[in-house]
Chain length 215, copies 4
């Protein structure tokens, strides 16, 4: 069944989002950050809807038909396709952070290994790296960038509650890791979100390298 | 001598298998997982035959003529080409696991190093990784995925016997490593088998990274 | 506002420089050495001007319009674009080393990690590597190549002063690292500068590998 | 001055050799094994001549004009181009090992680091790897493959003497490393030599990984 759009969403708008997601997915897959059909990607469509990858597709070969519409409770809209199992983590960002337009979840080796390594302390502290300035709002390497590491679970409401709890403290949140799994990050447009993801991958890889070398 | 097909095997069927093997081999070679003409690949053709790579060819540049027909005892059928030395490990999968349609054997650096490192304990235990869910039948990171590591030998019947012994215990078997050598994995179609191989490479690489970092 | 060139600078000359910078940036970005819009590149145009990358652009997709003219005090000439924040480090090279025509600043993982690791001792000593001969003036692996590591700061005059202090001692300077940041190197043409950068990346990576293995 | 060929060498023959060298160089450069214009490559032309890369060219962009003719004493023939500084190591192979048709010298990070690490013991022992079978004459992983590591020097006759001394003992020699430098290997045709080089790079990388993990 092809995607049927509700009256308020022009097909041009949905297709632009779907194409942008497919293009980003292709580039991230080429980097090896979406192994074995893992990872999922979304973009806000309007105040009440987002476009998100359909579950289980090979992220290196997405096209428009691999992207579906959901509402911000995570329900499919105008399609019987099944959204990614982790849809609730995407819609949470759109509900709680109204400025955010894009959520990218990848699953690189660096992200997976860092999440295991820092799981016990529950957070990665990044400090002293020039590239922290690639995260919106950071203007110096002397700042501290904290990336929480949440325990993995197959039960999404638990993860949603942990993210909510962090946000409720008022501490900044630019991204989080899930133990043994991958990273979630977001931004106000695709370029900013890609820049965040690229910087975080780089910073985590540098931290792992430093650990190996300082042992 | 070109491949001559027996009456029951249409050339379209054999060519489809040969082309699928060549295409997969090309992509796996590009990843560096088939160094120096190592590795071999096969697909089931029917209940009694499989298509398999001819011995010694460069896996990055295979075409239809580099694939030959064998029966499930590993004998060449309709050709005087020599099948891969490890043909018996492919036919064993087709004989013992009737649902399986594809066997991929690669030889990446990660696979070779992991096989050496875990040879003494005879098995790699994978646990706590979200990507275990890429293996058919696994639905949570809380499961345990066991990959046996068998001693290497140039005498194939010894390896066949070890694989048989594992299968005879009734324990699940999705893949195995051979010490100092590489990995064998399989699936019900090429996409599933590629997903298995990609996930196993990723998981072994993550395990090696964690070891380096936890030392 | 498009770039307006002063009377003494033919547009062919400026465009040749801009195109050479964009081409180099594209290749360096493909190597992953310019993550998240970091890095900047320049070429001398004449005794009083240089062409330099405009701040914040994605280094993998530069074209002529992403390059601007500056004078050797770092002021924009004929444009209201903003040059890279680190422009003063480029113009310093052109002012103090009259033979130099190209300055490349990249930000690879190896460069960032090496800068952190060697920050305390303030210098990387490279010795015993055949590839030291790729640096102009080096003719044997028995020479010693010193790459200083300066503390990072968001205040450019501090960095300029540190580089000046090194040059004032009369010690050779072919490149320097900034802690948690990246590398600066230069040369008499693009080919020499690229050769320097490639050799330094290689040598730093080898040093890090040796450390990991000798621990 | 273009290459002038002596009467006994048809231009077709020389061009075939030059093209084969340029094609191999391009692929090896793409792997990052020829950093900063390092590395050199040759092929035997007849009993008294070889084709070899001209000194200092970027190995990723060679064409026919970057290859020159030499005699087996290493002198230029029919050209005033300067052959690689290490020409004597190539001609030594052609003089002492009459079956050999190709010599490849590369300079990968793995080769450089392994050479430093094993310099003191003077040899790398490779044992227990299935991929040893990629070296001509090896039929089992239970064999031992010895790769000597010679001290580096800018004085070629010293290196030639060390290689001669090894060969004079009658021990097999398939390749050697030079400390802080790179590897030399050879074969009876380009495919065999490429297979040797690819297998040696893989085996050295595996040995380094095992060391890191067994520390």
């Amino acid at each position: 069944m092809p995607q049927v759009l509700p009256p308020g969403i022009p097909s041009d708008l949905f297709h632009a989002r779907a194409d942008a997601i497919a293009a980003a997915a292709k580039e991230l897959a080429a980097l090896g950050w979406t192994p074995a059909t893992s990872s999922n990607f979304s973009m806000r469509v309007d105040d009440a809807h987002a476009a998100i990858t359909i579950s289980g597709r090979d992220k290196g070969h997405l096209d428009r038909n691999d992207i579906m519409l959901i509402d911000l409770d995570g329900y499919a809209v105008g399609t019987d396709a099944r959204p990614s199992a982790e849809t609730a983590l995407h819609t949470q960002v759109y509900r709680r952070l109204p400025e955010m337009q894009v959520v990218l979840h990848t699953h690189s080796r660096t992200q997976s290994v860092a999440s295991r390594l820092f799981a016990k302390q529950g957070v990665v502290h990044l400090e002293g790296w020039e590239l922290q300035k690639a995260i919106t709002g950071f203007h110096t390497h002397e700042s501290v960038l904290e990336i929480p590491v949440f325990p993995n679970t197959q039960h999404m409401p638990e993860l949603v509650a942990r993210v909510d709890a962090w946000l409720d403290t008022g501490k900044p949140l630019h991204a989080y890791l899930i133990d043994g799994h991958g990273i979630y990050t977001w931004g106000r447009d695709m370029a900013e979100t890609r820049r965040h993801l690229e910087a975080l991958e780089f910073l985590l890889a540098c931290e792992l390298d430093l650990r190996r070398l300082s042992a």
